[in-house]
């Protein structure tokens, strides 16, 4: 670790926090329908689409619209992938995507996971990338933010049954937030060297007398929404490590800022909407605290290098460089990895499979903690609010009072639903991992033997269920078994979590907002921040400790003992 490395981390994270302030203000305006000069255009678009923004939906109506829209999006994307071979804009002449892989990929992009069991430049036509995958990058992100808006409104109002209009939210978020942000970022990326061309590839006659086929494509636009929407699905197989997808340290820094700015901004928007900015800042403080600790842990683990390699004659100065490119440096690789896994993005600028055991444990644990640190666009905030409800509940148990959060009484129904949501993730992750580790069709996919193999499998299901999408890439993911079970994990991780969350929102919206009393636990101070962090660690993380002990922790001690597999 170097001082310059720490300064890089501070600068990039600082920029993200600064940018989150105006973004949070705009998010709050969008949620409240305050569109300023855009109001007339917005009204015209909504009218053309047949949407009446003034007609609110109950939580069931909102849920139904969201599910129907996502199901239709899945069907359209699945069809595009299956028909790729006969559709236009396919300069490399790629074949259609086979059924299991198309199923997995369509779910993956609709659920904002972007798990990729294929390698982009070797499988996907320009049409599939642009009209299929990139469109779902926008829509799945907008879906997440729309859900967060619905949950925010439940806390802001009292005695109502309506949570807003899904269609209006979806349109406004896409048109007035994601699209302009993506355009700005796309041109910035092109200026930094990211290609945006319809050419498929170019053949270079190299100075040393060889030939090199260089894959190209419309990368920059898809790259921009991939980070802004915390999607993470790369245009190229190695994602943001590819020199065309991450041409410089500046480009990788911009990607880091993009992938946290909406999750950070949503916290601040929440504070504005409930009328108490401190509430949003408290949630943000928990997120930033975890991101910092995670970043420094990864940085320390990777900077220490691999003792096996150092003993073989490698200089320890650069740290562990397997699976990393020179231009980013370890500090930005650590910050990128912590934010991409904390924020449910899943893009990578360093190969996590080749991290040191403890360096790889951190991103895995961040995913398992429930994707709330800071979490995906929208899903981070509503996930965090579930933990906040559980935190006030536990505090209420300790002092023997009915817990309340922002003036809403938290009662048995909400706590049961919150626990149901929180239990989805471990049930899916541990259940499917256990099955894959005893069944031959699961075991056949492992690349590495020993504890690292267990971590590869555990990471895959954590990433899928957490809707993250990053991978321990050694795993052979394109098999019928893994495509199917990982697809189901993504579905459950997204929708089995969202349904109880919307039910909580519906129940809270109906309750009146009671004024603060003398016995109210303040939910903006250090006490609550500490309590919330503790609840996330204990409720979100404890159940994974046995599996982590068998995987990365066992591997760490094997490595120290000089053992290889």
């Amino acid at each position: 670790m170097t001082l310059i490395g720490w300064a890089q981390i501070a600068l990039v994270l600082g920029c993200a926090l600064l940018l989150a302030v105006p973004v949070g203000r705009w998010l709050a305006a969008l949620a409240e329908g305050r569109l300023g000069g855009l109001a007339r255009l917005d009204a015209a678009v909504l009218r053309a689409a047949g949407v009446d923004a003034s007609r609110g939906q109950s939580w069931q109506g909102f849920l139904l619209a969201m599910l129907a829209f996502n199901a239709a999006g899945f069907a359209l994307l699945y069809a595009i992938l299956r028909l790729q071979g006969v559709l236009p804009l396919n300069p490399q002449g790629f074949a259609s995507i086979p059924p299991y892989l198309a199923f997995n990929t369509a779910i993956s992009f609709v659920t904002n996971t972007n798990w990729q069991a294929y390698s982009g430049e070797a499988a996907m036509s320009h049409l599939s990338q642009m009209m299929g995958l990139a469109v779902q990058n926008f829509l799945s992100a907008a879906t997440g933010i729309a859900l967060a808006f619905a949950v925010m409104r439940a806390f802001a109002t009292g005695g109502v049954t309506q949570l807003g209009n899904f269609w209006a939210d979806l349109t406004r978020i896409t048109l007035w937030l994601l699209l302009p942000g993506t355009l700005l970022a796309a041109f910035a990326f092109i200026a930094m060297g990211v290609p945006q061309t319809l050419a498929a590839s170019v053949i270079a006659a190299t100075p040393s007398g060889g030939e090199q086929t260089i894959a190209l494509g419309p990368v920059a636009f898809q790259l921009a929404i991939k980070h802004l929407g915390t999607n993470g699905g790369g245009f190229f197989g190695v994602n943001s490590l590819h020199p065309f997808e991450g041409p410089s340290a500046l480009a990788t820094s911009l990607q880091i800022v993009l992938q946290v700015v909406l999750p950070f901004g949503l916290c601040l928007a929440f504070g504005r909407i409930v009328g108490d900015a401190r509430q949003g800042r408290a949630l943000l403080a928990v997120m930033v605290g975890f991101v910092l600790v995670a970043t420094l842990s990864i940085y320390a683990a990777e900077a220490a290098g691999n003792p096996l390699h150092i003993a073989a004659g490698v200089s320890p100065i650069q740290g562990n460089m397997e699976g990393k490119d020179v231009r980013f440096g370890l500090a930005l690789a650590a910050l990128f990895t912590a934010t991409t896994t904390g924020a449910s993005c899943g893009a990578v600028n360093a190969m996590i499979d080749s991290f040191t055991p403890l360096g790889g444990l951190v991103p895995l644990f961040l995913i398992q903690l429930g994707e709330v640190l800071p979490g995906g666009v929208g899903s981070g905030l509503y996930g965090m609010l579930v933990f906040a409800l559980l935190a006030v509940f536990i505090a209420g148990l300790m002092v023997g009072r009915t817990p309340e959060y922002l003036g809403k009484k938290v009662q048995a129904r909400e706590v049961k639903l919150a626990m149901l949501a929180v239990l989805v993730l471990p049930a899916v992750i541990l259940g499917f991992t256990a099955a894959a580790l005893v069944l031959p069709m699961g075991l056949a996919s492992l690349q590495d033997a020993g504890p690292h193999g267990l971590t590869e499998m555990l990471y895959a299901y954590s990433s899928a269920a957490g809707n993250n999408g990053s991978a321990f890439g050694g795993l052979t993911a394109d098999t019928p078994w893994l495509n199917t079970t990982l697809g189901l994990s993504m579905l459950l991780g997204r929708f089995a979590f969202v349904i109880p969350v919307l039910a909580i929102a519906g129940s809270l919206a109906a309750k009146p907002r009671a004024p603060e009393g003398p016995g109210t636990l303040p939910t903006h101070g250090p006490l609550f921040i500490g309590l919330l962090a503790g609840v996330i660690l204990i409720l979100g993380g404890l159940q994974y400790l046995p599996s982590l002990a068998l995987g990365p922790i066992a591997e760490h001690f094997a490595m120290l003992a000089g053992q290889t597999f």
Partner: protein, 179 residues
């Protein structure tokens, strides 16, 4: 519900999947054609590589890039890939030991495979360690190559971000110009 669903899904597919990306491609092609086209380097009209993409240099006469794990051949820019080998992998340790081949204090970037398989850069230290070999093979004075390396070190971006590094294709093109 059917009307908003269909109009939003199809409308966004046409807008975000066709109109906007094609518009961005057109504007980028007009305003930043070099960068939007992949930062290609041409010599006498012929593309000889991209400034951003590493190439495979073998033999004693060239600065060599980092080990590449792309599958068909090293530095296959039509199929990026990493080794994905874990820290306790015996295969990885064997590969690292072979690359080190008995030397001490070998820069880590020279002993390990890059993440993209296409890393265009090496560390300055890794470039310096190749000077003696290239000087002997090309019959050039060591001092001249040392100067070349120092001239080709790219500083941290904005003076802060990333790492100092040497672009292998660029330094090899400069090396060729020595003839």
């Amino acid at each position: 519900m059917l009307r908003p669903l269909l109009s939003l899904l199809l409308g966004s597919t046409l807008l975000l999947g066709v109109a906007v990306p094609l518009g961005v491609t057109a504007i980028a092609g007009l305003t930043m054609p070099e960068r939007a086209g992949g930062s290609l380097i041409r010599r006498e009209g012929q593309v000889i590589g991209s400034a951003l993409i590493g190439q495979n240099f073998e033999g004693d006469r060239w600065f060599r890039g980092r080990p590449s794990a792309t599958s068909a051949a090293p530095y296959d820019a039509s199929s990026s890939a990493a080794s994905q080998l874990g820290p306790t992998s015996a295969a990885l340790l064997a590969a690292v030991t072979e690359r080190v081949s008995g030397a001490r204090e070998v820069p880590a970037d020279a002993a390990t495979a890059s993440g993209s398989g296409l890393d265009p850069h090496i560390s300055p230290e890794s470039a310096r360690r190749q000077i003696a070999r290239i000087a002997a093979a090309r019959n050039l004075p060591v001092q001249r190559l040392a100067t070349l390396v120092e001239q080709n070190i790219e500083a941290r971006e904005l003076g802060l971000l990333g790492e100092p590094r040497v672009n292998v294709l660029r330094i090899n093109l400069a090396l060729e110009a020595f003839r």
